[in-house]
């Protein structure tokens, strides 16, 4: 239906998408790449890492928005790569790198946004709080064994009281989806309880992709 098609302009290029799609989706459909760190096609977008910010002009107003959570609207003009956006992105990645200096995924992002020298002291965190594991555990697996605790810079992903969860089924989805490789299977097993597992389950390792998965 024509009414459901929305036309927008991204980086001067006419793009069209379906009502309800986000700026990020439409951009990627048209071959325009925007870097992301907390986005995953299978999960509800969270808009939390803020690496995917773009400049969105609608009417007279221009604002910096996270493209992964901004729905397209007729007549929207989007700029994904202005000097301002580049500098904001560099700063955001620098902040993440300051939290987690050893994570490959952040180091790659730093290279991509052109961050040369980090102005902040770097720490060796192993989790940059993208929240993909939390979303996957509740949205895909449907058990909600892990969640966020505390707030602000002290936020962390844990199973409640930092002891093994009684609902974790040990499926390893969190480990598979974790872009930082923070959730390794060893950690999952530590957190796994066997109280509710229905039958015997073994863990296999795929020799192609090296990911673990469970058999029935």
């Amino acid at each position: 239906m024509a009414a459901d098609r929305v036309n927008i302009v991204i980086d001067g290029k006419r793009c069209s998408g379906l009502r309800g799609q986000t700026v990020l989706e439409v951009a990627r459909d048209h071959g325009i790449d925007i870097p992301t760190l907390c986005h995953h096609e299978a999960l509800t977008p969270a808009g939390s890492c803020r690496v995917c910010v773009v400049e969105v002009t609608l009417g007279k107003r221009t604002r910096t928005m996270a493209s992964c959570v901004t729905p397209i609207e007729q007549g929207m003009k989007v700029v994904t790569d202005s000097e301002k956006i580049r500098s904001v992105r560099r700063m955001v990645v620098a902040l993440l790198l300051a939290r987690c200096r050893d994570l490959d995924v952040i180091k790659q992002a730093a290279k991509r946004v052109g961050l040369k020298k980090n102005p902040f002291p770097e720490e060796d965190g192993d989790c940059f709080l993208c929240g993909m594991c939390v979303r996957a555990c509740s949205e895909i697996v449907g058990v909600g064994a892990i969640g966020f605790a505390n707030r602000g810079p002290d936020s962390e992903v844990v199973s409640p009281f930092s002891v093994e969860s009684s609902v974790c089924i040990g499926c390893g989805t969190c480990a598979t989806i974790c872009p930082a490789r923070t959730f390794t299977l060893e950690k999952v097993f530590k957190r796994r309880s066997m109280h509710t597992t229905g039958g015997k389950r073994d863990i296999f390792r795929c020799t192609v992709c090296e990911n673990h998965y469970t058999g029935a």
Partner: protein, 293 residues
């Protein structure tokens, strides 16, 4: 601190010797039991701090021994080791009261780690109970406490949108949010435990630790800040010997900094159990504290 003793029942000699060596090296006093019945009587005679039990006893006796030891000493952490671990067995073992279930093939460090966890938990539980006895706080040994929680949930028909309100009421009654209460709330309302735990750690007014008899809230609002509220807080810290956010060892005072209590006209301000003190100076702090001794 006294040496912690670990009682080990292990059928395979090689593994037994390895355990004795490694645990001994880690500073534990290692005692060995020869058989299931020997283990049970040994626990009764001289209670160790923890037990490591080989589940593969001859005749499939492991599970019986586990249950007997657990029934005799419910608080005693029992770590079960298995040669051929299976999920079914793990379920069975945990149901019978084991602290943890690990593979014999896992490195001894795993055992040491689990052991230290077990002992730490036991120590903390003992400490909490001791303090609770001293100050007559209801603990969750007391079934009345869960009934209190359930009554609060019933007030608004177990509706999950009232979750925060329930937790406030529970904290009001029990002075903090005990782990068991939160688990109970999650179960009873059929909401995920991470959500309950997330709320308990997100909002500042919740405490997972028992708070003191007197709660001192020092206002750190802007007006109090520019009129010296920070110095008032520091003098409380000096007087009580605890930093903000902590409770004194005797659980008499909890010291908290709060962000503006809306009494800026009287800055700097603090509140002790709901009573406001305005226009304060550092000099007055010890005098006012003395009223609450």
């Amino acid at each position: 601190m006294a040496v912690l003793s670990v009682l080990v029942l292990e059928t395979r000699k090689k593994h037994r010797d390895r355990l004795r060596g490694k645990l001994g090296a880690a500073g534990y006093e290692v005692r060995l039991a020869e058989s299931g019945p020997a283990l049970i009587s040994e626990v009764a005679a001289a209670r160790p701090h923890a037990v490591v039990l080989d589940i593969d006893l001859p005749g499939g006796d492991g599970l019986h021994v586990l249950k007997a030891v657990h029934d005799a000493a419910p608080d005693l952490p029992i770590i079960v080791e298995a040669g051929e671990p299976t999920v079914e067995e793990a379920v069975e073992v945990m149901r019978r009261g084991a602290f943890n279930y690990i593979s014999k093939r896992s490195p001894v460090e795993t055992l040491l780690h689990v052991l230290s966890q077990a002992l730490e938990r036991e120590r903390m539980e003992a400490e909490t109970k001791e303090k609770a006895r001293e100050h007559k706080i209801r603990t969750f040994d007391d079934p009345a406490s869960l009934a209190v929680v359930d009554r609060i949930l019933a007030r608004h028909h177990y509706s999950d949108s009232m979750l925060i309100s329930y937790m406030q009421d529970v904290q009001q009654e029990l002075r903090y949010l005990p782990q068991e209460a939160l688990r109970f709330i999650a179960r009873r309302l059929n909401v995920s435990l991470p959500r309950v735990y997330g709320i308990a750690t997100f909002y500042k007014s919740f405490s997972l630790k028992p708070r003191g008899k007197y709660v001192i809230q020092v206002c750190m609002g802007t007006a109090c800040h520019v009129r010296g509220g920070g110095r008032i807080l520091e003098s409380f810290e000096r007087e009580l010997g605890v930093p903000a956010g902590e409770t004194t060892y005797d659980e008499r005072f909890s010291l908290e900094s709060v962000r503006c209590v809306g009494c800026c006209g009287l800055a700097p301000v603090f509140i002790i159990n709901g009573k406001f003190y305005g226009n304060m100076t550092q000099e007055q702090v010890p005098r006012i504290l003395a009223k609450y001794e």
